[in-house]
């Protein structure tokens, strides 16, 4: 359409940009490429930092049959770039395939098993927290007094550092994984409460009046109007809750002493950090992946429930 000749100020026109933005949004491919470039950029900076200020590089190996002998002495000495603090990227990748313990299965297998265990706790916590959150949301949506009385405490509850409460929960609930799930639920119920409250209230007030004109009962209004209107907001809060539940599960595992789960892996590899810093990094990557996978599952569920309409509320 218009040739984008950038003349003097004002020629680009943000109003037209707003119009064009709907059509000219960068394609999936461009965005994917850009993200790949971003990721690649991070890796480059990583290795560049090590090249400039890390430990000496001594690579004596062969790649596809070709021998590689590379030695490099970085000009500077940065504490953050040492091999202990910032392992080489390929070391981190490589450690996934090496055994975690002597004669044991590869790290990837160990981490996967632990991730599944943590996911179980996170999921249980997610379900509990979401149920509680939805329940509270419904109660608060019905009664402004209840809302005004209790919402500040709901908000304040999140300022209590769960890692402090975690040991107490663990003592209280002798079943290890349940305690962790409860801790995960603690982090989950807050976003769901707020999302549910907002969503239930989001129904067009005129639609509410319409229902009243049909002498619909409170329950019917809830079922037929408020809850369906709340769905987009609920799913948005579920996405946040999903990642929060993973965080909660990992944090919960720390004081619980359970020998399974990513939390225990973190503690384990932290203790033996000096002998293999890459393993801790690998564990963090696994934890990040778990968070992403869970959020992805929620998105999938949302797509199924809403028949492919996608998420309106970002």
């Amino acid at each position: 359409m218009t040739s984008a000749t950038t003349l003097a100020r004002g020629a680009s026109g943000s109003g037209r940009e707003a119009l064009a933005a709907v059509d000219n949004r960068p394609s999936r491919r461009t965005r994917a490429l850009a993200m790949l470039a971003l990721f690649g950029g991070v890796l480059v900076v990583w290795e560049l930092a090590k090249w400039l200020g890390g430990d000496p590089w001594r690579i004596h190996t062969s790649l596809f049959g070709l021998p590689i002998d590379y030695e490099h002495f970085p000009p500077f000495k940065w504490r953050i770039a040492t091999d202990l603090a910032l392992p080489h990227v390929w070391r981190i990748v490589g450690t996934f395939f090496e055994p975690a313990q002597r004669n044991g299965p590869p790290l990837a297998e160990v981490l996967f098993g632990n991730a599944v265990f943590t996911f179980g706790e996170a999921f249980a916590g997610f379900v509990m927290g979401a149920a509680l959150g939805l329940g509270l949301g419904i109660v608060f949506a019905q009664s402004r007094t209840a809302e005004r009385a209790f919402v500040p405490y709901v908000v304040a509850s999140q300022t209590v550092p769960i890692v402090a409460i975690a040991p107490l929960v663990v003592i209280f609930l002798p079943i290890g994984w349940l305690a962790v799930a409860v801790i995960a639920a603690y982090l989950t119920f807050f976003p769901v409460t707020m999302g549910a409250l907002r969503g239930l209230r989001s129904a067009d007030p005129r639609a509410v009046e319409l229902m009243r004109s049909y002498a619909a009962s409170r329950v019917e209004v809830l079922r037929k109007l408020s809850l369906p209107s709340a769905v987009p907001y609920l799913f948005a809060s579920f996405r946040i809750a999903a990642s929060a539940s993973v965080v909660g599960a990992i944090i919960g595992e720390l004081p619980s002493g359970i020998p399974y789960g990513l939390g225990s892996s973190i503690l384990n590899f932290k203790q033996y950090y000096v002998s293999g810093p890459e393993k801790l990094w690998a564990t963090i990557i696994a934890a990040a992946a778990l968070g992403l996978v869970f959020v992805g599952l929620v998105r999938l569920a949302e797509a199924l429930v809403r028949g492919g309409r996608g998420s309106l509320v970002r």
């Binding site: 359409m1 218009t2 003349l7 003097a8 004002g10 020629a11 026109g13 109003g15 037209r16 119009l19 059509d23």
Partner: protein
Amino acid sequence: MTAAVVEIRGVSKTFTTGRGPITALEGIDLAIQPGEFVSLIGPSGCGKSTLLRLIGDLTPPTAGSVTVNGKPARQARLNREYGMVFQAPVLMDWRTVQRNVELPLEIMGADKAERARRASAMLDLVELGEFARAYPWQLSGGMQQRVAIARALAFDPKLLLMDEPFGALDEMTRERLNLELMRVWRQTGTTIVFVTHSIPEAVFLSTRVVVMSARPGRISKIVDVDLPQPRTVQTRELDRYFEHITTVREALRRHEGAGPPDERDLEAIRAEGVAG
């Protein structure tokens, strides 16, 4: 022959959407003379708002040319030769009324004293001088629109583009603001292009009413409104007023929906366009 303020020749506008191209306007020819008050009226989707935005270079035409004051529309926009009023007042909540009116002057680099002087003058013009220090959310909808009009006139443009400015207001406020607008028009001598949904409003305010039809957007008839100036409350009681309203209404009804305009109308339109 005085040069036309706005000249639209052979303009078409097609939007590409996810569902395929939509032709908003097709084959538009129109000339607007200085000092005129021209209304654009038509059913939803006839492209009247799009046409207004084409004049204001807020969107480019797919074909044809738009000339304002003898230059391309883009140049006219860069030179700030027109003011615009939308249906929503679009006032900034964090600025006082006076500072809102000063906004365009700030952007155009006028100094503080000059800005204050002009803003005051414009607020007095729309009779809101005493609200200079108030905030937009303290004013009623009608008052906010008057502030928007004052702002549009702040830098004294020769052309004013108005997109259903009174659409969100109730009938009584609307009629009052119509009278106000007529007074402002007389005092400033601005050329006004006015988009509206309301037939009585179009007839009351305009020297010419451009009736448009939809799918695709075309000009179907141009009505010369030969009611006496100045337009007053009495104007609304004249027989001729009601006759014009009927003419416009029939033109709208005849060209409702699909279908090309009448052959005779086409000739008249072409004649208008060329003669301008």
